[in-house]
Amino acid sequence: MAIKQLKARILENKKLSQDFYKMRIKSLYLARNIKPGQFIEVRCSESLDPLLRRPFSVHRILKDSIEILYEVLGKGTKALSQRKSGELLDVIGPLGSRFTLNTKRYPLNAILTAGGIGIAPLVALAEESAKRGNKTYVIIGAKTRSRILCETEITPRGCDLMVSTEDGSKGYKGLATDVLKDLLSTLNSKPPTIIYACGPTAMLKTVAHIAKERKISCQVLLEEYMACGIGVCLGCPVKVKNGTSGYEYKMVCKDGPVFNAREVIW
């Protein structure tokens, strides 16, 4: 779908907890055309510092608006957190590749594994997956209870939610990847299972390994620093396997951000 630069009205910019915010922006165009896994490039402020746009995955796709879920980390996300509803936000999108799902006729076991803020893009995917009649499991892992997000938004939509915290303050004590392993051991091979993951690189690497060992197909959403977000600057490379020379660089913004886990050189 054509990439557009839009001024979208901010409908809501809500603080969810200490460092997490959710923003809803009005755009019929994005609501109709953006797909789970894709992202938008946001001009967080009109100033020269921060200057570059920042990439955010689509978190939820609504009727005539979309949502992003973000963590305040540095100057870009700080500036974004200070934007008020009613203001216009300069965004470019839809950008990048999408998660691929099955068609309705062939349901799957879809397992979505999120680490921390990695849940942001997986909510849009979970909703789409459930709609297609998949048995949809969502595993959210985080360091501690206060960093577990979105619980209430996922559960009502026909997904099984599993939570893990490293300190055991909520749900299973341990890593999201431990929960994933346990879950996989209880599932039959019919219908086929597919794993989707987003989170810190170390987690993605483990998920990719688990999937490979069990010959399960796995799609990961990668992050890299971005300047243009559209494939021009060659600033966001990821090393992927290449038959002839061993490896090549692909661009996270244009060839990704969703990659087949087997393709990536971890």
Partner: protein
């Protein structure tokens, strides 16, 4: 109103170009490419280069560091695939080339001279992210080397030649003069400034390549000073580059002696910036009752 400028044999309908490495047809949906003066394409080398390891970019105060490392698919791919794909682009295409040595520069220039779609060559003598040949030094850091390379390419092609220089030198006027003496039709000033950024928690450089090139509003005053100095010493047209975000920045460069300008990383921030700059220049000229852009070039009062 006359916005046209001449650079060597190349005639531009307006002085606004997009800089090498910062623009591509990916922007076709977001900006009217055919309103540009010209497009300077991403630098190519004779053979493909895979580029530097990530991270390749980091934002700094009002700017960014990059260490892309001239990732490109090489000359053959450029001629066979890239150029034929640009059927919808009607504005002059300027190829940017970098060789490891004199022979490669000449080879690149000769092959590209035969490609009708190429209107001019920009010699990238100044990418801070690769080392040229055995000397491990940028060509544009040395007067004699600059003269020698420009001269050899001059002898190999009739195309308009633009020498893109490095700002990381003691005296820019000497290098600018060497390029002029070598036969360049124009010089573009400047490429990025060599810089470094540190992650204090990891105690590591933020870029995979350790150092990178600084661009953006942070470098504008530095680039302006170089254009102004060079303008006093050379008579060929100068193309001003560095941190241009709007038409006011462009006019600053023109007043300091630039006959044309290139817009770099601002394209990332606002893909429509180049057309906005063209409109802004027109308004500025109208407001000041000037009907020829060239009347403003070097018009800085003392």
């Amino acid at each position: 109103m006359n916005l046209a400028v001449k650079i060597g044999r190349l005639r531009l309908k307006n002085p606004v170009m997009v800089a090498s490495g910062t623009f591509g047809t990916e922007y076709a949906e977001l900006v009217n490419i055919n309103s540009l003066g010209a497009i300077v394409m991403k630098t190519i080398t004779l053979r493909p280069r895979s580029g530097n390891s990530p991270p390749r970019i980091v934002e700094t105060a009002s700017g960014m560091l990059n260490s892309i490392g001239l990732e490109n698919k090489g000359l053959d791919d450029f001629i066979e695939n890239k150029i034929p794909s640009l059927t919808k682009v009607e504005v002059p295409l300027i190829a940017s080339i970098a060789g490891n040595d004199e022979k490669e520069f000449v080879q690149l220039a000769k092959r590209l001279t035969k490609i009708r779609r190429i209107a001019a060559l920009e010699l990238n003598l100044s990418c801070p992210n690769i080392k040229y040949g055995a000397r491990k030094e940028l060509i544009a850091h040395d007067e004699k080397e600059t003269y020698r390379i420009v001269k050899s390419v001059r002898n190999a092609t009739g195309l308009t030649l633009i020498a893109k220089l490095s700002p990381n030198v003691t005296d820019i006027t000497k290098i600018a003069k060497a390029a002029e003496d070598g036969g360049a039709d124009s010089i573009s000033l400047t490429n990025t400034f060599l810089g470094l950024a540190v992650d204090i928690e990891a105690r590591k450089p933020r870029l995979g390549n350790i150092t990178g090139g600084l661009s953006g509003p942070a470098i504008k005053p530095l680039a302006l000073r170089m254009v102004w100095e060079a303008h006093k010493k050379v008579s060929i047209p100068i193309i001003g580059i560095g941190g241009i975000m709007d038409y006011k920045d462009a006019i600053e460069f023109i007043l300091c002696g630039a006959s044309a300008i290139q817009i770099g990383m601002a394209n990332f921030v606002n893909p429509k910036v180049s057309t906005e700059v063209i409109d802004g220049i027109k308004k500025y000229l109208t407001k000041n009752k000037i009907d020829n852009m060239n009347m403003v070039v070097g018009g800085l009062k003392s």
